[in-house]
């Protein structure tokens, strides 16, 4: 149970549209909030996984003898101790919990050690000896598709997990009618989530035999099924509890520690077990943003009207599906950007390799293609000798237009307003003056990018939520949150929605965080859908409870119409007479079942038949709800070192109406911050599947000195299907920084760097080759 933060100055009935401090801020700022990482307990067992350490090979033998001799090591478990399927995964269940035949990347878990102390665990893990027959690996998606390349999964030809193809209009044939063609290839790196709370959980088998797992996760209800299946348990025999996560961003969308922890707890008697991946293990075994290689050909008419687009995408999904097929599908859907393009031929491949696992990460396949498409737009503008902003305005999607996969936009569409907010901004209007003031040995550039992000699960997989609200016997309202709060603040928003409908202050709202035994299944914390889907369900539950309370109070007061009754903080009031009854007293009149209200909501999906293959539809194409934005970056580059500084950053976003401006802006800032890291410094350096920079001193995420102030504007169009008119805001901002910064760098340097991140080395190389061109 969460006690609400009450000491803020804006105490009063919660209202939609108000910047109310978050419910969890007090407990977090005082160190009281208990994360999964903070669970210990008496008689604790420590569990840890022995990682394969080779990229590809057949497991021949696991020798545990020496490990078992370490004092404090309790047992060593292998796949032979697993009675379920020993497989996990979201779509294709192709990942072993513990390797039973083949190792497919260095982070595969081969054995599980249980020990009385962390020290004994460490020693035990070192002393396990594995024998492998090593196999040749594949480390590049295009190489992996060639005939004769080693297969990561024996049953998957050419290592292609998913191939998708979309043709609209006359496809690539239409290129002939284009006056101008721009062609380029872009590549983007693996990005690490680098949440501060690494993968962690705590588990025990309770007295009734139920396996309870408290873990840092985005998907408690899906975890329950995965754990049960993999370990051969009944669903009802597993309980997942999800406290506030210390960051997740997609990296906890699916099982991390859960199944291993469950297996450990099943073998630890009734002792509690803890597993906490250290930072290096988080790098090696956790999922990453898919690296992508993207071949683009964009055709336009002489007046700048986009006419044709041909795209080939290669997404490196690593050794397991995880969500790789879905990520690629979202990439394909967004590969034409936020523009009208009548003729497209889009092809994409999600390809297995022996690199780290590709998975969900804020933006979910879109930041890659958006970076490519938005750079294509600038290249096209340059070729047309035109203005990049005007070119975008000319082609920007409006409501009723078709996206590049042919989906007609029926949601609120504020892209043009976003672009116009940028065009009216002094940073854009005065850009030439600002650039001309660059100091000696510095170059300045301004770049822009449009962004678009679909939300929800697409046309097939049901995107639903079940909200539950209870009037407690103490007279408070308890909200049973079905969707995880991984830091984005949706639990607070749930309190705000409930309080606004039921007339309550923050003090009168209690939150129950996701728990498969207490809250109701409501899908994952992902896909920019948390508040959209759960919020809609919550409105239904709170409204129904409000009506019930008012009706019963009207009965009690012998008042004929419920319109005369109103809920105020802690009481129901008769407006005409001013008579009140406290909610704690009122609750005594209700039967237990009357105090609880439940409501189900399922998100609308695209209805039209666009001829998209059943497999791509299953993987989420097309979406029907989109958020939009336009970003601007102002950069300064040191000509002598290539070092890039982002001097100014602004963006305008259309994510519908805003329920809490502070939480909304937090999401925009956070997306921009991670996007800046993606643009300027973050990449995994890999050598045959080994990460050479598996720590935060060599994998560089932005510090406070790397990110400038971020100016964020909300274009608040009302989305009729959204709760109070909102759309998702969690991901869309992530898509802006890389292309905006890349375009700014190209503007400053007069040459483009096609490979990101835009490190000093890459920029300097580009400047030097540009100089050679000039002098040569």
């Amino acid at each position: 149970m969460k006690t609400p933060f009450i000491r803020h100055s804006k105490n009063g009935p919660l209202q939609i549209g108000a910047s109310i401090p978050r419910h969890d801020a007090y407990s977090k700022v005082t160190g009281q909030e208990k994360f999964a990482a903070d669970y210990y307990g008496e008689n604790l067992v420590w569990a840890g996984a022995k990682r394969a350490g080779i990229a590809h090979g057949i497991l021949k033998k696991v020798d545990c003898e020496k490990a078992l001799q370490v004092p404090g090591v309790l047992c060593v478990l292998t796949h032979e101790h697993i009675s379920g399927t020993n497989r996990q995964g979201v779509v294709r269940k192709d990942q072993p919990v513990l390797v039973n035949d083949k190792v497919r990347h260095r982070g595969d878990a081969v054995a599980l050690v249980l020990a009385d102390s962390e020290e004994a665990l460490k020693q035990g893990l070192v002393l396990i000896q594995c024998t492998f027959e090593e196999l040749a690996g594949v480390f590049d998606p295009e190489e992996a598709m060639k005939p004769g390349a080693p297969l990561v999964h024996d049953d998957i030809a050419q290592n292609v997990l998913l191939h998708g193809e979309i043709k609209t209009g006359s496809g690539i044939e239409a290129e002939k009618e284009s006056d101008i063609i721009v062609e380029a290839c872009f590549s983007t790196p693996h990005q690490e989530h680098a949440y501060l709370e690494t993968e962690v959980g705590w588990a025990c088998v309770e007295a009734d035999g139920k396996l309870k797992i408290v873990c840092s996760t985005q998907t408690p209800f899906r975890d329950r099924m995965e754990v049960a299946e993999a370990l051969g348990l009944e669903f009802s025999g597993v309980r997942i509890v999800a406290p506030y996560a210390g960051g997740a961003f997609g990296g906890k969308d699916g099982v991390t520690v859960q199944t291993l922890l469950g297996l450990a707890a099943l073998n630890a008697g009734s002792r509690p077990v803890k597993m906490h991946w250290n930072r290096e293990e988080s790098f090696i075994s956790g999922t990453k943003r898919h690296p992508a290689r993207m071949y683009y050909r964009l055709g336009a008419k002489a007046d700048g009207t986009l006419h044709s687009l041909s795209v080939r995408l290669y997404y490196d999904t690593g050794p397991y599906d995880h969500l790789g097929g879905v990520v690629l599908t979202l990439g394909l859907e967004h590969s034409g950007g936020a523009y009208r393009i009548p003729h497209v031929h889009l092809r994409g491949w999600a390809v297995y390799t022996n690199n780290p696992i590709g998975g969900a990460f804020r933006g979910f396949g879109v930041p890659q293609v958006n970076a490519a498409m938005e750079q294509m737009m600038d290249m096209l503008a340059a070729k047309l000798n035109g203005d990049p902003l005007t070119l975008r305005l000319r082609n920007a999607l409006r409501k009723g237009d078709k996206t590049s996969v042919g989906k007609t936009l029926v949601c609120s569409t504020g892209l043009i307003d976003c672009i116009q907010t940028v065009s009216g901004h002094p940073l854009w209007k005065n850009r030439n003056a600002w650039k001309s003031e660059a100091p000696r040995f510095k170059r300045r550039g301004i770049g822009i990018a449009a962004v678009m992000q679909g939300s929800g699960y697409g046309p097939v997989v049901p995107d639903y939520a079940n909200a539950k609200v209870e009037l407690t016997v103490e007279g408070a309202f308890r909200v049973y949150c079905g969707v995880v709060d991984m830091g984005q603040g949706n639990a607070s928003t749930n309190a705000q929605i409930t309080g606004s409908i039921l007339g309550q202050n923050a003090t009168s709202i209690e939150l129950v965080l996701p728990d498969t035994d207490r809250t109701l299944p409501s899908g994952s914390a992902s896909a920019s859908r948390c508040t959209y889907t759960f919020g809609n369900a919550l409105i239904g539950a709170a409204e129904a409870l409000r009506k019930r309370i008012l009706q019963r109070a009207a009965d009690l007061f012998m008042v004929p119409n419920i319109e005369e009754m109103v809920l105020v903080n802690g009481a129901v009031k008769h407006l005409t007479t001013g008579r009140e009854i406290g909610l704690s007293q009122f609750a005594q009149f209700l039967n237990d079942s009357e105090r609880i209200s439940v409501h189900h909501f399922r998100a609308p999906v695209a209805q039209e038949d666009l001829g998209i293959s059943a497999n791509l539809r299953l993987h989420g194409m097309p979406h029907t709800l989109f958020s939009f934005g336009a970003h601007l970056a102002a950069v300064e580059i040191d000509e002598l070192t290539g070092i890039l500084r982002i001097e100014r950053y602004m963006c305008a976003s259309d994510c519908g109406k805003v329920i809490n401006p502070q939480i909304y802006t937090q999401q925009i800032h956070g997306g921009v911050g991670q996007g800046i890291g993606y643009a300027i410094s973050e990449e995994l350096n890999l050598e045959r599947g080994t990460i050479l920079n598996p720590d935060l001193s060599t994998y560089i995420i932005p510090t406070a000195k790397d990110v400038p102030d971020i100016e964020s504007h909300a274009i608040e169009l009302y989305e009729p299907t959204g709760p109070f008119g909102l759309k998702g805001v969690g991901e869309v901002a992530m898509n802006g920084p890389l292309p905006a910064i890349a375009n700014a760098v190209a503007d400053a340097c007069g040459t483009r760097v096609h490979e990101s991140p835009l490190t000093a080395e890459r920029i300097l190389r580009a400047l030097q080759s540009k100089n050679r061109e000039k002098t040569g």
């Binding site: 801020a25 210990y40 949440y195 996560a245 937090q666 956070g670 510090t703 000195k705």
Partner: protein, 158 residues
Amino acid sequence: MNIQFRLNGKIMEIEAPPDRRVVDVLRKDLGLTGTKESCAAGDCGACTILVNGETRLSCLMLAAQLQDREITTVEGLSNADSLHPVQAAFIEHGAVQCGFCTSGMVLATVHLLTRNPYPTRSEIRAGIAGNLCRCTGYHMIVDAVEKAAETLASEEDS
């Protein structure tokens, strides 16, 4: 070994191996889980504590180094009735998202504002650059530090 120090104002006497990491003493032995651990290598600042009023990383500090020192963790900054102005500013100005960097960030701010009570935004950014945050993009943290500085300055004046 026997180690005596002051923790959040209280005199403490503990038995611990001299090479036990302070973050383990705090979190696992004393149950003060407000101090977080994220990288265990001194890269991220999540485990920041105050030692005689100055920031130190508890993942790089050993138990023996606690002897005779004055230690403040996030739990020691406030009591049930009142928050430290830095904590209040973090809440009010949206500096908290997932919260895992928050303890360290708050303590780094407390030390920054004792060194430099009137920092510019750029000095604030430099002052907290040793504390990584993956959620906020830092903007609202910088806002909160600015506001906390104002509050502390006005408390000083009155």
